[in-house]
């Protein structure tokens, strides 16, 4: 076990989830910023579930709903990235 697990590269998690949105959900890349709300992605509730599922698969994690419920209002891509980073770090401790 590494005593000091490597910190995720700044912004790399956001970039990875943005890439999923572009490649799998046909979201225009130039419409995305870290502050883009999940509700502003132009994808419906079904696709939102598939998006979170795809993100979880990409990072090989399962985000508990108490950590992040994508149906809640006010969640942006940066918050999603932060939850992923925190979750990865917490599971490595």
């Amino acid at each position: 076990m590494t005593e000091n697990p490597p910190q995720p590269e700044q912004g790399s998690t956001y970039k990875a989830i943005a890439e999923i949105l572009v490649s799998k959900f046909q979201v225009e890349e130039n419409t995305l910023t870290p502050q883009t709300l999940l509700t502003e992605l132009g994808i419906d509730s079904l696709s939102l579930m598939e998006f979170v599922f795809a993100v979880e698969d990409a990072f090989n994690i399962r985000i508990p709903e108490e950590r992040l419920d994508p149906r809640e209002a006010g969640i942006d891509l940066q918050k999603l990235a932060n939850v992923i980073d925190e979750f990865i770090l917490s599971t490595k401790k």
Binding site: F25, Q26, D44, L46, M49
Partner: protein, 440 residues
């Protein structure tokens, strides 16, 4: 007599090529179906067979080889309005339907894969979708089961809406914003013929002005192939190297089963008055339809049921038996199936009408078979050329069968071809007969 219903556009995805080169990319997979769309007519009339072998490797079972006719089609390239993942069959449905809409002048192809609908002036509440599939969702269902039971993985959140049988119809309705009836028919091999026929009835009755109709099937996955193989209706395959272009031989003395196919056929059906208003140039109508059930056996066909269906379709089209210039037979190269159909066609249409089965070429596309065979029948009307019996010759034809079989390559019609009849006879006993006519 009710107003004619025109086939104002059509499109397809098939093992012989698709109607859109833009959505059919060449691959190095070596499959016999890796063909570009412009080859389709040539392949059809030259008697090209797309049948090849596929191995079924299931845990705990010896490898089995089965005959299939697959499409050069990457379903991951097809996106839907709903943006949920598409079943392979639904993706084929969308691709074929887009081509049909472009062909009907209801949409434009903006880029290789771009697509823009232009249905202004048409009341969306009078636009319907009538779709058929025998095992809709089978591709995704089989993959989902594999994920759970073989790999111990979780299920995708949208598995239900991807697998549900009406998924393709719902995606089509979303695509064209059709707010009229949205129906899905599952009548095994007759599914898409029934879908087309029921749409014809809805249009004639005045319930709708326009309908997007047809069928799709994608079932070439291990579990489904193993199920068909267990039923012992597939032509036998020795190994992966077997030459299978002659594997499926409808009407032959030594016929011994079919290959499973996949694909989709889509049509825009339109009341003639509206088609004229839009400036549609098509002169082909869907002129007759009938369906019934043998109600005698789950799989064994019954000649009397088929006879009743063909008579009813002729009455529906207001035609005599002698008006029919070509029959696209259901014939799947099974011993009992071909025999029953030869008897029913002889009884209703006589021995002189040219007849062929295109199953040797496309494989058996099950729920999409009726739609694809209507494509072949329309091609016959357009080219005045009869689709062939790809693997049949005077030497190999069943000596009991006294019909006018088209040769192994397509031949020009001897007299103007005005009316064609297509049979679809299904497991479960459903019979469906469609007639298309040149109304020039």
């Amino acid at each position: 007599m009710s107003e004619p219903v025109l086939i104002s556009g059509y499109g397809w995805v098939s093992p012989l090529g698709s109607s859109s080169a833009g959505r059919s990319k060449e691959t190095d997979s070596g499959i016999a179906g890796a063909l570009r769309s412009q080859d389709f007519d040539t392949n059809l009339f030259n008697g090209y067979s797309a049948v090849h072998s596929r191995a079924i490797d299931l845990p705990g079972q010896p490898t089995a080889y089965v005959p299939v006719a697959s499409c050069d089609f990457d379903h991951s390239l097809i996106s839907s309005v709903s943006k949920v993942p598409l079943d392979r069959g639904a993706a084929m449905a969308l691709s074929a339907a887009k081509d049909a809409l472009v062909n009907a002048g209801l949409a434009s192809q903006t880029t290789e894969t771009g697509f823009e609908l232009s249905v202004s002036g048409i009341d969306p509440t009078r636009v319907g979708v009538f779709w058929g599939s025998g095992m809709a969702g089978a591709f995704s269902f089989d993959q989902t089961a594999e994920q759970i039971y073989q790999h111990g993985k979780r299920v995708r959140p949208t598995s239900v809406v991807t697998i549900m049988p009406n998924s393709a119809a719902a995606e089509l309705a979303l695509m064209v914003k059709a707010q009229g009836a949205c129906m899905t028919y599952a009548c095994a091999c007759a599914s898409s013929s029934v879908a087309m026929g029921e749409a014809l009835r809805a249009l004639r009755a005045g319930w709708l002005d326009l309908a997007l109709v047809g069928g799709s099937e994608a079932m070439l996955t291990p579990g489904v192939l193993a199920s068909w193989n267990a039923l012992r209706v597939l032509a036998p395959v020795k190994d992966s190297q077997s030459n299978l272009s002659q594997a499926c031989r409808p009407f032959s003395q030594d016929r011994n089963g079919f290959a499973l196919g996949e694909g989709a056929g889509a049509f825009v059906l339109e009341r003639q008055s509206q088609a004229i208003r839009r400036g549609v140039k098509s002169k082909i109508s869907l002129s007759g339809y009938a369906t019934n059930c043998d109600a005698t056996h789950m799989t064994l066909p019954d000649t009397s049921g088929q006879v009743r269906a063909m008579h009813a379709a002729l009455r529906d089209a207001n035609l005599q038996a002698s008006d029919i210039g070509y029959v696209n037979a259901h014939a799947t190269a099974t011993s009992a199936g071909d025999l029953a159909e030869v008897r029913s066609v002889s009884e209703v249409l006589g021995a002189q009408v040219p007849i062929s089965s295109t199953k040797a070429q496309f494989g058996h596309m099950l729920g999409a078979a009726g739609a694809m065979e209507m494509v072949a029948s329309i091609k016959a009307l357009e080219h005045q050329t009869l689709p062939p019996n790809a693997n049949l010759s005077l030497e190999t034809v069943d000596t009991e069968f006294k019909l006018n079989f088209v040769a192994s390559k397509g031949v020009k019609a001897h007299q103007p071809l005005r009316h064609v009849l297509s049979n679809s006879f299904a497991f479960g006993g459903t019979n469906a007969v469609l007639i298309a006519s040149n109304i020039d």
